[in-house]
Assembly symmetry: C2
Homo-oligomer: 330 residues x 2
């Protein structure tokens, strides 16, 4: 089984590659080759028992997608995207990367022909939903994005479904909740504080909280996001019927519950490193975001997430800090 990860240098792409290197299989089938592609040079995972190739490639440029699918990967993970804040700040770049890139990838697959029909796992986003919505958003809630990023992801979902229906790809779209705790430096996503109020204190640094403590939002760890990507690649896609896109489970917690979890895992000193600095702009954006989902479809199909927020912190401490919070004494 040959695998392509488009967006393989991003946070999820790297973690997905690491996981595939460890597992050596997807859905029981041995991995024969992995190609990581991204606009910046991807890093091959350590210890893979199969050949790994890295390529610098911008899917939105003519011919690039065609070259990427020449080797007929059996599974294509389409993670290549610019994030919400950047897609909002740079209209043209957002449409070029998030819409044209997706479309050119699907078109490249179509042009192979000859019965080639790879599993395409597309990372969509809960940003396809926009307020007003109910407290718990069901699997059949309509697509009402209120950002250009959400619009581009919703269009990607529609394309994925149509190309699947036409027999060109075997698509599975998964709408990831906000990933927490994101390692490393903040990206341009407006949701960055959900991670930084945990990550910075665990690293001994102050964090800024721009919204109220009662803000509620669904979160999942990078580890469960990766597990769900792998599950999407190996699952029986016939179970999805024509509705190929699914909201992934996320743990719906308030900021107050996040902070309580941090206090439980890393003590008062860590929790006290969060400085409240209300930001009306961020608060207004976040007010338009989902609070919780009813993910019955994904649950029934075997997709999973954490059930307590401390588990999400534990994943960060285990995977990024070698098991020890750096900043705060218990």
């Amino acid at each position: 089984m040959r695998i392509l990860i488009a967006g393989g240098a991003g946070m999820l792409g790297r973690k997905l590659a690491d996981r595939l290197a460890r597992d050596g299989v997807i859905g029981g089938t041995p991995i024969a080759q992995l190609v990581l592609a991204d606009v910046v040079p991807p890093v091959a995972p350590a210890g893979a028992a199969f050949p790994v190739e890295t390529r610098v490639a911008d899917l939105s440029q003519p011919g690039v997608a065609t070259a990427l699918v020449e080797g007929r990967p059996d599974v294509v993970f389409q993670l290549a995207a610019v994030v919400s804040g950047e897609a909002e700040a740079d209209f043209e770049k957002g449409y070029r990367i998030n819409l044209d890139g997706m479309r050119l990838l699907l078109e490249a697959i179509r042009s192979v022909g000859d019965g080639y029909r790879p599993r395409v796992v597309f990372t969509s986003s809960i940003a396809v939903f926009g307020a007003p919505f109910p407290d718990r958003i069901g699997d059949e809630f309509h697509l009402t994005p209120l950002t250009s990023y959400g619009t581009q992801k919703a269009i990607g979902e529609l394309l994925l479904c149509d190309y699947t229906r036409r027999g060109i790809v075997d698509g599975v779209g998964i709408r990831l909740p906000t990933i927490c705790v994101r390692p490393g430096a903040p990206n341009k996503a407006a949701s960055g504080f959900f991670s930084s109020i945990i990550r910075e204190p665990l690293n001994g640094a102050e964090a800024v909280l721009p919204v109220a403590d009662d803000v509620r939002h669904p979160l999942a760890s990078p580890r469960s996001a990766v597990a769900n990507l792998v599950h999407a690649a190996g699952m029986d896609s016939a179970l999805l019927g024509d509705r190929r896109c699914l909201t992934m489970p996320g743990l719906s917690v308030t900021v107050a519950e996040q902070i309580a979890g941090l206090r439980e895992v890393a003590g008062d000193a860590a929790a006290d490193m969060i400085r409240r600095e209300p930001d009306e702009t961020v608060a207004r954006i976040v007010a338009g975001w989902p609070r919780a989902f009813d993910t019955a479809r994904a649950d029934a199909l075997g997709f999973r997430c954490e059930s307590r927020f401390t588990e999400i912190i534990d994943v960060y401490v285990a995977d990024e800090l070698g098991g020890v919070p750096a900043g705060a004494a218990r």
Copy 2:
């Protein structure tokens, strides 16, 4: 007020141009100029009190949309599209005309800049919805197209909303029900029989009915579709908030009710000219179509349709047959 009709040579485009020529105003504002554009030469309406320009233009070709919006029309009717059957039969053409054409039009408007922000009235379709769905589909039912045409229209809706939110256009998308009675020769739409079983008998010819008499579907006359296009152009779009696309009212009738209406208007001889010739392919397609909509939003905003099927027949007889059914004696 300057008006552009993209798709001005199509059935609705022609009727819209005729109506604008008769009215001379939209929403109380006098029309100063009308441009009709289409891939085939449009025909200027008779009796317009304002200048009418016709242009052969394919929106999906580079630069064409830019030239069309150079004159800064205040209202752009975006009716240019290939129909469902053709978009399904010719994958590339469907995406080129229905998706690229729409996007290039929006991009051309964006590139004008300088505060230019026209009202864009986009004809979407109930094909954005796909089975399974409830007997009456509400305004918040999710987009689940099961055809490439429906996919392209759904993407057009998403683009219209995002370009509106970004202040580039002032968009109103209206999802037209199936138009009945369509004049002239059948087009490639699978819904053609809803019109032909009325039109052909009224013109003294036999019609073929490929589905069962209990098939139920929402219909509206070309006249009410045009009235709703004009209403969308003149309405206060702020009432729409961020959800710029609306399902238009349609009269939900069964084929049996259509035939009863034909019998009432044109007699038994007309109704007897319908030959039942079940077609499994058409029946299967139609089984995936909506049966009725709850159009509370559009109703409250002043959009209208016929309330009895005989009214729909009467519109055809009045507008296309000079008031007299040609084929059948009462």
